[in-house]
């Protein structure tokens, strides 16, 4: 690609697993051991955080980098920013670069908001004159006009993050690197940040955006790279990359069932959740879910003592902390009871019209007699939905579109286009 602004060619980066010699005493001890020829071998001493990663970003393009934790996303960004140096390979960047690896990195708590704008601006590469010119814009974008002369140590974490992002968003770099920083701040501010990033890209900024939030990638980046264990698993159109990533996730779940269905020993001890599995209508375990698929949750429970009556609740939320679904047996008048022993509890659900992504469930059980909590697991039972990239947002509903003319001169619709979710727009669609 002739117009590429960012070039990653065959980049490898290795990290040491063990702590390096951090005190002189360790160094001496290590040296003596070596002299005596007694170097201990404790398995591999390093791992490849990035292994032969090769990609290019064209001018003005927005590229997303997604992948599970530890895939090397942040390492890639830190290499681009120059914070780390690759062990092999070469990186080329053309033009002025600003990296937002952490909002407000370099803020000093004792300094006021205004002072920190100048400090952080300089750190990100702005001249004092530039900061002065943009100060009003930065402050109003962050919405902290009233607190400008207050030390940032008294800022709320939201204000802190807003100011941090706002400064970086006003640097006007040619290449902007953003790492998972939009998880802070409230929803409105997150939206404004995305809006701002989209605007920067429209104005010609090249963007490399690392995130866990598939919606954010979908809304900004046309092209996305999926990293997995330090290698590029896929790169291409965002829609395909997201689908690829989700199926990789569900494969990983299927491969490691022991990780998934961890026994839950509750501190209350009287009810134990041995397993929570998702089954389809034929009672086969679901690897990944399609939005229009009937499912049941099967909970394997062990009662350590007889329980006369209990209420069971299953809750679900997306990666963000918002609750999405909740099924409480008490609300539909179902209580369960039984002697000590093993039980299987099944919840049958209609098709869940969810958009693609990863969701997490927990289970809670109360004693219906005295209201005591018997079981309360963390949100750690994942469910992966693959909608084939049809929808953004949280829901993926069956829908169809029609178009008809409403002008009086014709009594019958001239043309009509229909589509089911994900279908192809009718080719006869014409607007006159």
């Amino acid at each position: 690609m002739g117009g590429s602004v960012v070039t990653f060619s065959h980049v490898c980066k290795r990290f040491r697993l063990r702590e390096t010699n951090d005190t002189l005493r360790d160094l001496l001890a290590h040296g003596i051991r070596r002299l005596r020829g007694r170097t201990k071998h404790e398995g591999p001493s390093s791992f490849w955080a990035l292994d032969d990663v090769d990609f290019e970003v064209a001018r003005g393009q927005a590229v997303g980098i997604i992948g599970p934790n530890g895939a090397g996303k942040s390492t890639a960004l830190k290499l681009l920013a120059g914070i780390l140096r690759p062990d092999r390979g070469e990186l080329l960047v053309e033009g002025r670069l600003a990296a937002l690896i952490e909002v407000g990195a370099g803020f000093h708590g004792d300094l006021t908001g205004r002072e920190n704008v100048f400090l952080n601006g300089a750190i990100l590469g702005m001249t004092p004159a530039e900061v002065r010119r943009k100060l009003d814009a930065i402050v109003s974008f962050a919405g902290i006009e009233k607190f400008l002369d207050m030390p940032v140590k008294r800022y709320s974490s939201g204000m802190y993050a807003r100011l941090g992002f706002s400064i970086a968003a006003h640097v006007e770099p040619e290449v902007l690197l953003v790492d998972e920083v939009l998880s802070v701040g409230d929803a409105v501010f997150r939206l404004r940040c995305l809006e701002r990033m989209r605007k920067l890209v429209q104005d010609g900024t090249t963007l490399v955006f690392v995130t866990h939030d598939l919606d954010q990638v979908r809304s900004i980046c046309r092209r996305t790279i999926v990293l997995e264990l330090g290698r590029i698993a896929y790169q291409g159109p965002t829609r395909d990359a997201v689908g690829q990533y989700m199926s990789a996730m569900s494969r990983a779940f299927a491969d490691r069932p022991s990780d998934l269905h961890v026994q839950s020993h509750d501190r209350h001890g009287s009810v134990e959740l041995l397993d929570l599995r998702w089954l389809d209508a034929d009672f086969a375990e679901i690897v990944w879910l399609r939005p229009q698929q009937e499912i049941r949750a099967e909970l394997s429970l062990r009662l350590a003592r007889p329980i006369r009556s209990m209420v069971v609740e299953l809750n679900m939320r997306a990666a963000v902390e918002e609750p999405l679904l909740s099924f409480n047996s008490g609300r539909v008048g179902r209580m369960f009871g039984g002697d000590a022993g093993l039980y299987r509890l099944t919840l049958t659900l209609p098709a869940l019209p969810l958009s693609g992504g990863q969701y997490f469930w927990n289970a809670r059980i109360w004693d219906a007699v005295n209201g005591a909590t018997l079981l309360d697991t963390p949100f750690r039972y994942p469910m992966v939905v693959n909608d084939g990239g049809k929808a953004t947002g949280r829901l993926c509903l069956d829908h169809h579109w029609t178009l008809e003319s409403t002008e009086a001169k014709t009594s019958t619709p001239q043309s009509q286009g229909e589509m089911a979710a994900g279908g192809v727009i009718g080719e006869n669609l014409s607007i006159r």
């Binding site: 010699n21 914070i83 990186l91 960047v93 690896i101 990195a105 004792d110 400090l119």
Partner: protein, 276 residues
């Protein structure tokens, strides 16, 4: 538009960035140091001044040592002229030692030439030095008008900037080595705290060193700070140029430290973020 190979910046290519950042970080250091403090910049004066009073008391009242010291000028002048450059040296270095580790957040999250950290430590201590030097002028005026030690301006005063530059070169070189060493081995900071205490007493700051031909006198004579601190007194108070041989030696040592310190700092800089 220039294509830049990431991680292969030279000092030359980063110089503009360094120049832009140095004043800002120096300002931050000063601002933070004197914020929420009643005396503020007054501490820059108070610290060497109170040390001068302390040593004046010790050597002229508590123990009868003034004659033994062979100091011809009034002792407060002698002590203050040594303490001001010494404070510049020691506070620069003690800030440098911790400069990279204390800015861990910046080192691991943002890239810019890392030299800024030790350099801004020296620069902010230099500001304190300049302030303390104005008090030095007051002290000299006091003894001039009392007639104890009359001041006559000579051409040697013009040599003061050279003395200062040599001291800065030595401090920057050492500061870079210390900052880098402490990043890899945290022992350096503890060790430094001990060494800097001892160093003061072998640098002719408050007591002149014996000039006999003993083994230790010869070892101490290698200390490049002795000619530097003596040079301040010679130019400012004695009205003559410093001893050529001794001062050239200090200049040479300073230059070597600066070159060696800066080069090794540069070579290690790319490992800072992962080793910190």
């Amino acid at each position: 538009m220039t294509v830049r190979a990431v991680g292969k910046n030279t000092l030359f290519s980063e110089l503009p960035r360094l120049r832009a950042l140095l004043p800002v970080l120096t300002w931050r250091d000063l601002r933070v140091r004197y914020k929420q403090s009643l005396l503020g910049v007054g501490w820059a004066v108070l610290l060497p001044f109170s040390m001068m009073l302390l040593f004046t008391f010790v050597f002229t009242r508590a123990i009868d040592g003034a004659s033994l010291l062979g100091v011809k000028m009034p002792y407060p002048l002698y002590a203050f002229a040594g303490l001001v450059p010494w404070t510049f040296f020691s506070s620069s270095l003690s800030n440098c030692v911790n400069s990279l580790v204390a800015n861990r957040n910046l080192v691991t999250k943002v890239y810019f030439p890392r030299e800024v950290f030790p350099l801004s430590c020296v620069a902010s201590a230099l500001v304190d030095f300049v302030i303390a030097m104005t008090v030095m002028i007051g002290l000299m005026a006091y003894f001039h008008f009392r007639g104890d030690w009359p001041f006559t301006p000579t051409r040697a005063l013009l040599f003061l900037p050279v003395v200062l530059i040599v001291q800065i070169a030595l401090t920057v070189g050492l500061g870079m080595i210390l900052a880098m060493a402490n990043l890899f081995y945290r022992d350096v900071r503890q060790l430094f705290a001990v060494v800097i205490q001892l160093w003061m007493f072998v640098s002719a700051v408050v007591v002149p060193l014996p000039r006999d031909d003993s083994f230790w006198a010869n070892v101490f004579a290698l200390n490049p700070l002795i000619p530097i601190i003596t040079a301040y007194r010679d130019c400012l108070l004695n009205g003559h140029f410093p001893d050529g041989g001794g001062f050239s030696y200090a200049g040479l040592v300073a230059l070597l430290f600066l070159i060696f310190g800066w080069i090794s700092f540069r070579r290690a800089a790319f490992r800072f973020a992962e080793c910190i």
